[in-house]
């Protein structure tokens, strides 16, 4: 064996692989824990910070690498796949689609949003299962009656769709409007909740 080959061969056994994700969490250097989930309306990636559920990212319109890129841009690149931090949210999503759950009860982390966006999402979260509202009504609810477009944008930036039910907000007149995972997903969610749409 040549000297070069011998150098390239390992000097001794490799140490057991460290749990770098756990190290990051222990040192406060963990930006996001993510997990994949298949939903009847399409695949998603769920993401959690140490404060709560931070994102449900649809993979209906982009692939996983692009989704992780968006999450890294919003939350930081120290992202690890780890099922545990989103276990409760995933269980509740399963129950929602099985028809045994109509409300969500998981802490969400909306820290990256503006105060206005949070106000809109808080108002949206109050719309019950099976009911719908409009961008205009939601604008009125938060005391900004002419802010329809801004309300629409804030809903479009909803990081935790389904859990905060932005699919329940339609255009005045019943047109579906837009949706983060594509408008077909919105239609299927409303159908699941028994809402008849135009």
């Amino acid at each position: 064996m040549s000297l070069e080959t011998e150098l390239a061969a390992t000097r001794g056994p490799l140490p057991a692989a460290p749990d770098v994700g756990a190290l990051a969490a222990a040192e406060g250097l963990l930006d996001l824990s993510v997990a994949r989930m298949h939903l009847p309306v399409g695949d998603v990636i769920l993401a959690a910070t140490d404060r709560g559920l931070a994102a449900i990212h649809y993979l209906t319109l982009e692939d996983e690498d692009a989704a992780l890129g968006h999450l890294a841009a919003a939350f930081g690149p120290r992202i690890f796949f780890d099922d545990d931090p989103t276990a409760r949210a995933r269980r509740q999503l399963s129950e929602y689609f099985e028809g045994t759950r109509t409300t969500f009860d998981v802490p969400v982390d909306l820290a990256t949003l503006t105060g206005f966006q949070r106000d809109v999402l808080d108002a949206c979260a109050a719309i019950p299962f099976g009911a719908v509202s409009t961008y205009g009504d939601l604008a009125g609810d938060i005391g900004r009656p002419r802010a329809n477009r801004a309300v629409g944008n804030a809903l479009g930036a909803n990081p935790v769709p389904i859990v905060i039910p932005c699919h329940r907000v339609l255009r005045t007149g019943g047109n579906l409007g837009g949706y983060t995972g594509g408008v077909q997903v919105k239609a299927r969610l409303l159908e699941h909740e028994g809402v008849v749409t135009a």
Partner: protein
């Protein structure tokens, strides 16, 4: 440019990094060196400006931490063995070659490890050692030549 998730970095480059750590400080200290490297990489990752050659970036972090250990006497060299240690007590993988690598001057030791264990190109070795690509090539050659002489001399 978006950086890949740190977890993907671990999956892709862990073996190479661990091999470098073992070669640089020996199997006993490798685990500590690897731990320190991941911690430093986690701290620095949000400020990394290029997603090119992240494996090489990890190796250079480990290399700098290895140098600190070499200089503060963490060496696992044959010369550090207590003189009367029986042969059977010496770690079998720490054979003549690696004892000779450990005895190389730091510059040559770095050059040989970065080239043959970490598989860095000469240009990157030059950047890491603060010299030209040609000088890096020369250091690797000189390091190998020293190793050959040392090992030959030690053959019975």
């Amino acid at each position: 440019m978006t950086l890949p998730p740190f977890g993907a970095l671990v999956d892709e480059h862990r073996d190479r990094l661990a091999r470098f750590c073992v070669a640089a400080v020996g199997p006993t200290d490798a685990s500590d060196l690897e731990h320190d490297t991941w911690l430093a990489a986690l701290r620095a990752y949000p400020t990394v400006v290029s997603d090119q050659n992240l494996g090489g970036w990890l190796v250079t972090i480990a290399h700098r931490k290895a140098i600190d250990r070499w200089r503060t006497g963490h060496r696992e060299t044959a010369t550090d063995q207590v003189p009367d240690v029986p042969a059977a007590a010496v770690d079998v993988v720490d054979d003549g070659l690696w004892a000779a690598v450990d005895r190389l001057p730091d510059g040559a030791r770095s050059a040989v490890l970065l080239r043959y264990v970490a598989d860095l190109p000469y240009a990157d070795i030059g950047t890491e050692l603060g010299c030209s690509e040609a000088a890096a090539r020369q250091r690797v050659r000189a390091g190998l030549s020293t190793l050959r002489t040392t090992i030959t001399r030690e053959q019975p």
